[in-house]
Amino acid sequence: MMKKEFTLLIVDDSAIIRSRIARILSDPRLGFIRMTGMAKNGMDAITQFMQQTPDIVTMDITMPEMDGVECTEKMIAFSPNCSILVISALSDKATALKTLKKGARGFLYKPFTDEELIAAFLELVHS
């Protein structure tokens, strides 16, 4: 069952990536996703997460103040049903797997294409 609308929080320390994800959301296929916030570090992300309790979070791994692994753990503890998509340039698969074990639902390599992100979002909200 698809909900009518999903809220999204973008977490990434790169402004370019943040605005890129926001831009990709303008694709008509993603009309059901509404961005509620952007965070550029882990602490900021947690604060916004608690206020907005978004359905979906895109999560960077390497960030100042609190990394994506810890951030994911905290978010899942707060709201176990949220879908976290890890987006990282990590060549280290072990760290990515660690984040998934903490409760993230998917992983996307940087650099990604528009299509890859759209596909990942569609996959994430399916079922």
């Binding site: 698969k93 797997l97 998934l100 409760g103």
Partner: protein, 721 residues
């Protein structure tokens, strides 16, 4: 199960279901016929029974009448009758003997029974049955029966009239009446008997006919039912058999697939144990015996490094859990292109590459297993490696092609000659005996200088593959030199191996150059003679090209002016030397001399730096070649600080040296003022190459002029007599 599934079930069993329905219908029909038959048979039996009884009744009536007459005859008639004279004297019933009275009563019953039964045959109605109970008698059906009944009725009507006086409570009949009835009975009894007998026979015939028809219908029904039953059984059996066959086939297909498939296939359950079925190739691929139900993880543990193993455990657990999306984690599969060593059939160790792919197997949308596919990807990995190697090799070739296409055969040929010569010189140096560290250092410096020269020229021609290799060699040899005490004669083997690499790259370059040269015609590679020389000397392009590239790499802006007109008349070997020298000096000027645009602006200099190269004829066969930049100049304090920082000089020694001595150090090997080694400068080779080349030139002299923050100028004087 959804609707479609239900439909398919009905479609699959439609034949059987129809056959069963038909069977039931036919059976009901047969049973119905049977019931009807039995009912009809009962009915016929009743009719036959009663028609038979009519005969008996008629006989009885006659008998009773005769008995009455005899009884009257036997007694004194006068005692019975009031008036003996008159024949129609009525009989006084009270005077009748008891036997006659009994007879009269019987006559009553018998006549009534006969009458109602006959009416029943004629019109249908309730009659008293053989058991004395009322029974429904149906009208006779056939024409023959009707006629018989009608004939009987005709006789009976008269008979019944005659009998009427003898019946009832108040019997009031005369002897004559009795005689008349007796005589009628005697005359007609036989006829009635015959008629009733005929009726019985006819009824029997009808009943038999109907019974045999019904029997035929019943037999046909039973036969149809039986055929239907057989049909149902056959269809069911056939369907079952074909189902079994399909099942067996699919089982066989499964087994066949598992036996022939190249990939290792198996299912992993939630406990990470192997399923019962797996492909036959699996034990071979994993090089171990596989038993259903064995733990997968220990198998893996023996095959991969502990880090990969940890990741694999995480990955498999994620797939067995419900949370992550399979398609969104596929890129994290840690078990692709895993190198494993195995024994081949000769017992030799062989290194192979395996990839494990994991897919969830869902039952009712729940993860029941993970399907694991193991592929031997050795060929693919090796092909990939070869392609990569070929790519880097062909890169050099393509670059060479581009040079040739750029109408630059002369300089390419020159480069090939120079490189060949330099490599030969390196090899010769390596073949000398190295008896101590000093000799090794000497060789190392010598090789470094030559390699640096090759690097510079390769860069100038844009042959990046060779430039890159030269740079890598340079870095490695500088590291060797830095290692100081640890430098042993073994290092010379490494240098020889590096040289081999150079030769390999060089020969592929030379190969393609000569091949293309022959395609383009030998003239292409011939040196142009002086008269045909272009107005712009070819060196101008090389130098400009190199300078712009280095400037871009270092974030600098530069305007280059070259005046090489005077070079046209000079012999090739001198031009070649000058080109090598200018390459090193241009590099030096751009890396160390000219500042970045920002720095220049803060120093009130134009944003774009300027670099000039020119050649002058001084007369008497003497030439002067100058390279000048308007950069930061040679600042002795700056150099001193750098030398100390790099550990080349102790602070004390640096302080003790004069500015001139410090500046002179830039021509010594192992000195560089760039902070970090990069491809263009910084290995402390460059200016020593220049000095060495100038030394080999006839009448060669090198001088340097510089003013801090203003300019640096290198002048080379030589004789071309």
């Amino acid at each position: 199960m959804d609707k479609r599934n239900e439909q398919s079930v009905f479609a699959r069993y439609r034949k059987i279901i129809l056959a069963v329905i038909l069977f039931m219908v036919v059976d009901s029909l047969v049973i119905g016929i049977n019931f009807y038959n039995t009912y009809k048979a009962d009915e016929s039996a009743l009719s036959i029974n009663l028609s038979g009884r009519q005969g008996t009744l008629s006989q009885r009536i006659t008998t009773v009448l005769l008995l009455m007459q005899r009884s009257l005859d036997a007694n004194d008639e006068s005692s019975l009758v009031g008036n003996l004279q008159d024949s129609d004297l009525t009989v006084n019933i009270f005077n009748l003997p008891p036997s006659v009275v009994r007879n009269l009563k019987e006559l009553d019953q018998t006549v009534t029974l006969f009458d109602t039964t006959l009416k029943g045959f004629s019109d249908g109605g309730i009659v008293t049955g053989g058991d004395g109970k009322p029974t429904l008698l149906t009208q006779v059906e056939t024409a023959v029966s009707r006629q018989l009944v009608a004939d009987t009725s005709e006789i009976w009507t008269k008979y019944f009239e005659l009998l009427k006086p003898l019946l009832g409570e108040e019997r009031n009949f005369s002897v004559a009446e009795l005689k008349e009835a007796v005589s009628y009975a005697q005359n007609n009894n036989l006829e009635i008997q015959r008629l009733m007998n005929d009726l019985t026979t006819d009824l029997e015939t009808v009943a038999n006919k109907r019974a045999s028809t019904l029997r035929i219908v019943l037999v046909i029904g039973i036969i149809v039912a039986f055929i239907n039953f057989c049909y149902t059984v056959i269809i069911t059996l056939r369907d079952l058999m074909s189902g079994d066959k399909k099942l067996a086939e699919s089982r066989n297909e499964n087994a066949e697939i598992l036996a022939t498939v190249h990939e290792g296939l198996f299912l992993l359950n939630k406990d990470k144990k192997l399923g019962t079925q797996f492909s036959e190739s699996l034990p071979r691929m994993l090089h171990m015996d596989i038993v259903p139900g064995m733990d997968f993880m220990p198998i893996l543990k023996n095959m991969v490094s502990s880090e990969v193993y940890e990741s694999a455990v995480d990955y498999v657990e994620l797939l067995l859990g419900e949370r992550v999306k399979e398609s969104l984690v596929a890129s994290l599969n840690p078990l692709t292109n895993i190198p494993v060593s195995m024994l081949d059939k000769f017992g030799n160790t062989q290194s192979r590459y395996l990839s494990f792919f994991f897919n969830r197997a869902l039952v009712d949308d729940k993860i029941s297993h993970v399907l694991v596919t193991v592929q031997d990807v050795t060929d693919r990995v090796q092909l990939q490696k070869q392609v990569e190697q070929a790519k880097s090799m062909s890169k050099a070739e393509v670059e060479t092609l581009l040079r040739l296409a750029g109408n630059d055969f002369t300089s390419l040929q020159q480069f090939i000659d120079n490189t060949s010569q330099a490599l030969g010189q390196i090899n010769e140096k390596l073949s000398e005996s190295h008896d101590d560290t000093r000799a090794l250092l000497h060789t190392l410096n010598y090789v470094l200088r030559l390699v640096h020269g090759i690097k510079g020229e390769a860069a100038a021609l844009g042959i990046e593959a060779l430039e890159g290799y030269a740079h890598a060699c340079e870095q490695e040899m500088v590291a060797m030199r830095e290692s100081g005490q640890e430098l042993t004669s073994d290092s010379i083997v490494r240098v020889a191996v590096l040289l081999e690499g150079f030769y390999e790259r060089y020969s592929s370059l030379a190969n393609i150059a000569s091949r293309l040269g022959s395609v383009l015609g030998t003239g292409a590679l011939n040196r142009p003679d002086a008269a045909a020389a272009p107005i712009v000397h070819p060196m101008v392009e090389h130098v400009t090209h190199l300078a712009q590239r280095i400037a871009t790499d270092h974030g600098k802006e530069v305007e280059i002016s070259c005046h090489f007109d005077k070079l046209s008349g000079l012999p090739d070997h001198i031009v070649r030397e000058l080109q090598s020298i200018s390459i090193q000096l241009v590099r030096n000027a751009l890396v160390h001399g000219i500042e970045t645009p920002t720095e220049r602006l803060t120093r009130n200099k134009p944003r774009t730096g300027s670099l000039s190269l020119w050649c002058e004829y001084l007369g008497s066969g003497l030439y002067e070649f100058t390279v000048r930049d308007d950069g930061r100049g040679i600042v002795p304090e700056h150099l001193r600080a750098n030398f100390v920082k790099n550990g080349r000089l102790t602070p004390e020694k640096a302080a003790a040296m004069s500015d001139k001595e410090i500046a002179g150090l830039i021509f010594k090997p192992g000195i560089s003022t760039a902070d970090k080694a990069n491809i263009d400068a910084g290995h402390g080779v460059g200016l020593d190459v220049v000095l060495e080349k100038v030394d080999t030139m006839q009448g060669g002299r090198l001088s340097v002029k510089s003013r801090p923050d203003s300019f640096t100028e290198f002048r080379i004087q030589f004789s071309a007599a």
